[in-house]
Amino acid sequence: MGHERVAVVGIGQTKHSATRGDVSMAGLVREAAQRALADAEMTWADIDAVVIGKAPDFFEGVMMPELFLADALGCTGKPMFRVHTAGSVGGSTAIVASQLVSSGIHERVLTVAFEKQSESEAMWALSLPIPFTPPLHAGAGGYFAPHVRSYIRRSGAPDHIGMLVALKDRQNGLKNPYAHLHEPDISFDSIKESMMLWDPIRYAETCPSSDGACALVLGSEKVADEAAAQGRKPAWVQGTAMRSEPTLSAERDTVLPLGGALCAADVYKQAGITNPRKEVDAVEMYVPFSWFEPMWLENLGFAEPGEGWKMTEAGATALDGDLPVNMSGGVLCTNPIGASGMLRFGEAAMQVRGTAGEHQVDGVRKAVGHAYGGGSQFFAMWVVGADKP
């Protein structure tokens, strides 16, 4: 069978918000899935298999919720698969779905990722007492703040970098009608004055808790060629990669994780990219706390270690910069945790297809989607391009 070509031929997402009280979980995932199907000009009957991803089941209080969502997602009589790889899950779910096509098993696969955070309280769901482990942190921010402090110490980055990232992403989010946070009055000063939550991470430098879903339709070469012939541009998957490393290991560098670097090197090799800074036109990366933009720029090979913040400071990552990062507003504007990785992968595909609307960057030929999870230990990436690999 080998490796068949695969492309994104449909993309859909919900309007994200703190509480989508107007829909059940089934209504939420269906909203995203139907938009992806409409985008692909397909119906439920065209879909061969469905791959669902979400973060921990405790976030909604439903055990293996894909079981009760099966009929809402048109799965009756079809294969339905549930992926869970921590915060990277939205990305890994899309990758697992793409492999069902690239392996030649299926022609058209629908993949959906979601979180309905309003059903519970994610910060405390992430802070469960583990026997023999000291309860040192509250939520993800408490866990990651020491990593950020370490980055600042090692790189000598000035204090305002995190605030610049937050300002850029929130301003990009204003151009994205689906984004959760729309803060037209946001300014550098308002970010600076916001409450310090986990030093050096301020409230305005932190992702929101969102309800939302994202869906993609992945098609075989034949399906994608047909779409292209009808004027619907496919985003060709030029490479996919996943890497995992331990939570607790003396060898780890959580500021510049080896797993992330290996994941990036693998996906660039598959996509024939030797100089990512020059060859990649746009990046959607998983930045739940502002400082992760410079950290991931370095980890993914867009800057030398210790230099990523200079790209941010110089405006290189702005919508009109030479390497736009998080055109959609990113995780800092929208964070339905399980879907956040797929939103990154989907935005990369939208940029390549030229369907990103107001936050479209001109002439994107190659884009990177990135997600991470756990204690900066699970990584999922793909490269999508306008050209057939």
């Binding site: 079981l67 009760f68 009929d71 294969p79 339905m80 549930r82 890497r243």
Partner: protein, 352 residues
Amino acid sequence: MRDIAVIGFHQTPARRRVEDLNEVEMLMPAIHGVLDQLDMTIDDIGFTCSGSTDYLAGMAFSFVSTLDGVGPWPPIQESHVEMDGAWALYEAWVKLQLGEIDTALVYCYAKSSPGDLPMVLTRQLDPYTVGPLWADSVSLAALQAQALLQSGKATEADLAAVAARSRKSAMDNPNAQLAWDRPADELLAEPYHIAPLRKHDCPPITDGAAAIVLAAGDVARAKVERPAWIRGIDHRVEPIHLGLRDLTVSESTRIAAEKAGVAAGKVDVAEIHAPFTHQELILAEAMGLGDDVAVNPSGGALAANPMMTAGLIRIGEVFNRIKAGTADRGVAHATSGPCLQQNLVCVLEGES
């Protein structure tokens, strides 16, 4: 498809309650058992995939701790499903089809003992409608059994015969939790547990873990004399709502068995993941298995039913028999969700 085989399998002995070990400690002997069997280490593995559920571990991201036990350093290619290990094996099989790697480790585990399992499983039900009624898994299975009896397709004696055969077969299974030899007519004299199910119609509650190694083509042949080749594997799902399904048949199993090619040859052995006696009858019919098939020689899920694991064990049990040469072609089945909602069928063959 690329030729992929099961080359190693190890399971921990099924126990009602593993109190002296945490999940990681319980799982490690399964992983090291299968790697040692093949004289391999984690460095020889191209892809690792696991199956487990946070709801039984009682904490978010529980699989993260068990992955630490695997020792993923330097960083590895790895994935996790919130499903039975049989589906983790499916993902690994797909990954192997891509031709970039030649080996995969699949593992799964669950401790059901810390909670009240039938109550915990109510959290799988539609949270807006059925979940608040706390309809437990045994009661739902009893509804299905009642539907089967009323359809005239089976009698209570048929159910007792499944129980008697399974527990007797389990006496030859060193990993079984529940094994005995009692005639079916004696079982029928016992009172109902949840009518029409008697205690012996229900599975034990089990803590346990299992692991499998998959390998491609010549890598598999170099490692073991008689690999169990995966000739077909498919899985299908139905709606969770019992009112939308005919509970006396398993349409998803029928489709999966057809796609996996069960009927393409003689079946020597079938390991069916049927937690309740009546479900074995429904599943055997759905897969079109004849009377000449040895069904659940391990005792099946009635002998030991570790959640998230009992499905993968079925594949391992068929592998064991092909490896030993006592079977040439076997069918393994895994299920998930209330009343057989989701089903996977895998056809395994020895090389002739």
